[in-house]
Subunit: 689 residues, 2 copies
């Protein structure tokens, strides 16, 4: 495919080559200065946002979150740039025409005997050409949309995965997956269909200024189905809202970003053969579906794999713990390489980074030194904070600086209705179905809250600005901006009111609450089990997710010991025939840990093995510094098979009766006295979850 | 200056516009994948470097520092890219020619009716055009040189300023400034003159393939005069080498980076009028000198100003301390905006960032919450580490991937000689002159060590790769690479040997040592002072730098109270007439601190006020956690005027005799027992300096 075409037309000799050189250099310098000044505007905008956020936090204002604030500042700067500043049009664009078939990535231009290299920036529509000549300033503050996908989104998504409250996430995994996958697809199609109705109406009354196909409607459905966790969850965190509601909302919004991203690219990839490219065709549809599955599972596998590799490295290079700087740098680089690797393989980097973050938090985090744990958390927290506020202020800015807005009243009203309907079609039917099998039901006030909390944010914006070439995409972009503004300001600002209106409890100390409720349940279980037949107990057991139990056991018995220094030694969990292999894979630390199986992560699951452990370790003492020492289990090594579990439970229950369980722990930092009627005091174990 | 030129030559109708669109998209996607893969190579290179560094640190290998290692890995990858991988030339470059006078920044190309936007990347020389067509792969891994100045150098330089050991730096300020300013200029001219001799010789024997002017030689002198602190100082840190030697080397190499950068741009700016642009002209020379002064002082002032603004913000928004994330983000953004502001104003961002870092460390750091202090230090440590290793591995890579190397044996040998001579002409004469006025002389073994430790690193490389358009610049670049390789591997690797060869003490606990020696000196001072006339004492006093004493007093009495929460309240230091102003500017904390004037920074200077304080605070107890409590000074508030000092010293000496100074402190972490013959035990005060 060598297309080396030389179009040497006229070679003008330069009269004064030196002079010209200086002029070119001056121009390059000026352009660099201008770039610096533009970036400075954004930095100062962020600085201003931070100072105002501080003021808000100080005054405990909850009606406007930092992201909403960043948008307002962005809007203001946008207005100033648009209307107040008029830069004289310093137009140096040259329009060239040539008879090549495609636009090359690199262009060499022979100007007066000197060769200059140009790189392709993108296609511009005819209308844009005038705009370009209109206001150079506005174009300058416009970023390449790919910046969002390659620089700003990855830290946000990684941070979401890394900071997932895994215990509650895994407890609600089934529901979260249902909302994220089924819910997002349902929402996408509902919105797509509704919008197609709107488009047909607009076509009828002649309000449509260009093409708008059904695939465009579906694409719109996909991009506005991505909900943003930022604003609502910040308030939830502050108010300490119920952990299950938090987990459901957070898990859903993190995963549906990934689903919406892959879904939208699958819709774009829908390319039926033949003349009319916008008809329905089963094969193309299947292909799109295949792409969705392939890209999603590929990104998932890749993200998980890199996480596992990092865990293995940090597991084997244990001495690295002495050098937190190297450890942190390694962690950062490996996480970044996940993104790049996924992009290089044609998968979706953002999705890979999400699963990488989750794997890192689950395995690698346990291998890091305490200092590196802090450092990595703080680093990604900072990156997330900066990227997020940058995106939201840029969002405000684009409302005025973007030149090809298409605001169509019918489409906008339709979009708001569709977004509402799509969210309702996601939450209510799915909640009903999920409640059929859930032990702790998703109550109707939780459902209303989830409905209300479906804000649209960074991902929706990034997806809609990615391609604004056609009329349909421009209309989508303008409408999306309004949807984001509305949801962030109105829904985000009304979260506190909505919470009190729905009578959802706030100020819940989740760790304590959980420990306590789980204990009560276990206690009940144990009571039931010592009945004559044990039938009740097993029925209780079957209510919990069997699929998840299998995974948890596998993870706890095999993956954790291989990838981290916690968990039981493999020699104890693998069958006897695999003895040599197990010995080879087990680290010396695992044997040391054998007595203290309750690693920071084991409270992820609060049934089965942990019950036995909780009852097995009769004396657990936690000192003030967080280092916890536990007595060896009375029943020996806990093997998580059901028979062992039964024996274990019976044994420990016996113990319970004989010795009278006394778990007295220092109560230095628990502010909520337990309303337990027993005389025991439980102390929450501060863990990263 | 509207130069809108439309050269519409031929508008070819696209046969299949949709098909073509897909092709373009595919191509863009492929290019993105390629970019990701290239970046991935670098990331993996860094990961490999980190793992090997760990191995080296673990085995205590000191003959090769991480930067040297990064270069070796870079070299290996360069060899592989150059010789092992042969990508079939997928050439899509199109050469266009047009009769415009200058190359525009943006180019619109009309390809088959569609407009594509191209941005200027830079000029390419004729020889490069063939290279471009040679190997796309090699071009892909080549970064825009401006990346170094805008992304990689700023964190390195900022970190250098931020981590300066200020106490020892300020104690040796005069010498450091002499080495950095006078020394660098001397070295630049010596090297320039020597190289001009080489060039003349080469011209005589016909070894020169292009133009090479005297300004080019001076430019070469400027860029290779920038010494790099990284490698040597890492070893110094590990071995705990004498603090004064450390301060001299570190201070010099940090400041001479800034001097060399501004100097080289001043040399480039030397543009005599008239026909021959390479003759000597006094006016142009003066202009260059003016540019040097203007840019340097401008950057200095700007960097300092931003630092002060950040200090003021963090001073006034004290409640920000509750939110370390916001505090850290603010700190990061303000430091970055210094760089952008300087660039936007036409100053040198890197230099501004250096002084900003120093100001931040001096003032803002004291206002930050302890958590933010850790966070900012760790953040910049990480950024510095990544940027540095990236630059050094890229250096290794370019030896093979850069296509226009000009290796000229005479020039190379000449350059090595010139570098040696230049360094010698910097160190030895200056040390001799400085020793005339210094109290603690720079001994000859220190001088040899400084001579040996003049490694060339990141700044030299970045300056030489910035412009490789002409023959002279290409030859400089190739030679510079070799100089960097040689100094980093040979001089860097031989540091330990050189230290033991020069019999320079290692394993010195600098804080302890200092405290002790200062104490001995003060003791002497006090003894002398109680002689009948006090003449000896005042002569001792005059030996210390008077200029610096003035600055220190001003800083301690006025700047520190205004910008930080430490230091004495302004009401105590300002004259009585300024009472209202002082009260308005003094924070409530300052009054609280009044009794404990010994802030983390006051041991910066170990004479005057501190002596009185040391003797005034008879009982200083430091507990193991680092929080130190001190008794109120016996002599009341210490005002740093000379009369008060005298009174104070006399008083405390009296106290000394009467009460018998007993300073018994816990000795938990000092491994070096004091060889003091008195019965006192001193405990070093761990401070960030």
């Amino acid at each position: 495919m060598v297309e080396l075409i030389s179009l040497c037309l006229c070679l003008c000799r330069a009269e004064d080559s030196a002079m010209e050189n200086i002029v070119t250099e001056k121009k390059a310098e000026e352009s660099h200065r201008q770039d610096s000044a533009d970036l400075l505007v954004f930095i100062l905008l962020l600085t201003l946002t931070i100072l105002t956020i501080w003021l808000f936090k100080h005054r405990r204002c909850r009606f406007l979150h930092e992201t909403g604030l960043a948008m307002i500042y962005g809007l203001l700067v946008g207005v100033v740039l648009r209307y107040a500043i008029h830069v004289p049009s310093d137009m140096n664009n040259v329009t060239l025409s040539c008879n090549v078939n495609a636009s090359p990535a690199t262009l060499l231009v022979n100007v007066s005997g000197k060769f200059y290299e140009y790189t392709l920036k993108g296609e511009i529509s005819g209308s844009e050409i005038n705009d370009i000549q209109d206001n150079e300033m506005l174009r300058k503050v416009t970023f390449d949309p790919e910046v969002f996908f390659n620089i700003l989104l990855p830290p946000i998504i990684f941070h979401a995965g890394y900071s997932l409250k895994r215990r509650h996430f895994f407890r609600n995994l089934g529901s979260i997956l249902a909302y994220a996958f089924v819910g997002t697809v349902v929402s996408c199609f509902i919105i797509g269909l509704f919008m197609y109705g709107c488009v047909l109406l607009m076509k009828q009354i002649g309000h449509l200024g260009g093409d708008f196909f059904f695939t465009d409607c579906l694409f719109f459905g996909a991009i506005v189905s991505a909900t943003d966790p930022v604003t609502v969850l910040a308030i939830f965190n502050e108010l300490q809202v119920d952990a299950d509601l938090y987990a459901l909302l957070f898990g859903e919004s993190v995963l549906n970003d990934a689903v919406a991203l892959v879904l939208s690219s699958s819709i774009v990839a829908y390319q039926p053969e033949g003349d009319n490219t916008h008809t329905f065709e089963a094969m193309a549809m299947l292909k799109s579906f295949g792409i969705f599955l392939g890209v999603f599972s590929g990104s998932f596998a890749l993200g998980g794999a890199t996480g596992v590799v990092t865990a293995l490295i940090s597991f084997n290079f244990t001495k690295l713990r002495e050098l937190p700087l190297l450890e942190t740098a390694l962690f950062f680089l490996m996480s970044w390489s996940t993104f790049l690797l996924a992009e290089a393989c044609g998968f979706t980097g953002v999705v890979a980074v999400l699963f990488c973050g989750m794997t890192q938090a689950h395995y690698t985090f346990n291998n890091l030194s305490p200092e590196s744990q802090d450092r990595t958390k703080q680093l990604f927290e900072l990156l997330n904070f900066l990227a997020e506020n940058f995106i939201f202020s840029y969002m405000g800015l684009t409302l005025f600086t973007f030149h090809n807005h298409v605001f169509n009243p019918i489409f906008i009203v339709g979009a708001f209705l569709a977004v509402f309907l799509g969210r309702a079609a996601n939450i209510y039917p799915l909640s009903f179905l999920l409640n059929l099998s859930r032990r702790n039901k998703i109550t109707s006030n939780f459902q209303h809250m989830m409905m209300f909390a479906g804000l649209r944010g960074a991902m929706t914006f990034a997806l809609s600005i990615r391609d604004t070439a056609t009329y349909a995409r421009q209309m989508m972009f303008s409408t999306t901006l309004l949807v984001v503004f509305f949801t962030v300001w109105i829904c985000g600002g009304g979260t506190t009111q909505m919470l009190s209106c729905q009578k959802i409890r706030v100020g819940v100390d989740t760790d304590l609450e959980n420990f306590q409720s789980c204990l009560m349940m276990d206690f009940l279980c144990v009571r039931l089990q010592i009945g004559p037949d044990g039938v009740e107990r097993s029925s209780t057991k079957q209510e919990s997710a069997w699929l998840f139990r299998i995974w948890y056991n596998f993870d706890h018995n095999y993956l954790k010991p291989i990838l981290t220094h916690s968990g039981p030694p493999l020699t104890a969990t693998l069958p006897a025939c695999c003895g040599p292999l197990a010995r080879c894979l087990t680290s010396p630390q695992a044997y040391e840990n054998e007595g203290q199986l309750k690693d920071s992560d084991s409270d992820l699951i609060l049934n089965d093995g942990d019950i036995s452990l909780t009852y097995g370790d009769i004396t657990v003492s936690t000192d003030a510094t967080g280092a916890h020492t536990s007595g060896t289990p009375v029943g020996g090594v806990a093997v998580n098979s059901d028979e062992a579990l039964d024996r274990e439970l019976a044994f420990s229950d016996h113990e319970l009766v004989i010795r009278g369980t006394r778990l007295v722990l220092p109560m230095d930092d628990s502010e909520h006295p337990l309303p337990l009627d027993s005389r025991r005091h439980w102390h929450k174990n501060e863990t990263m979850s």
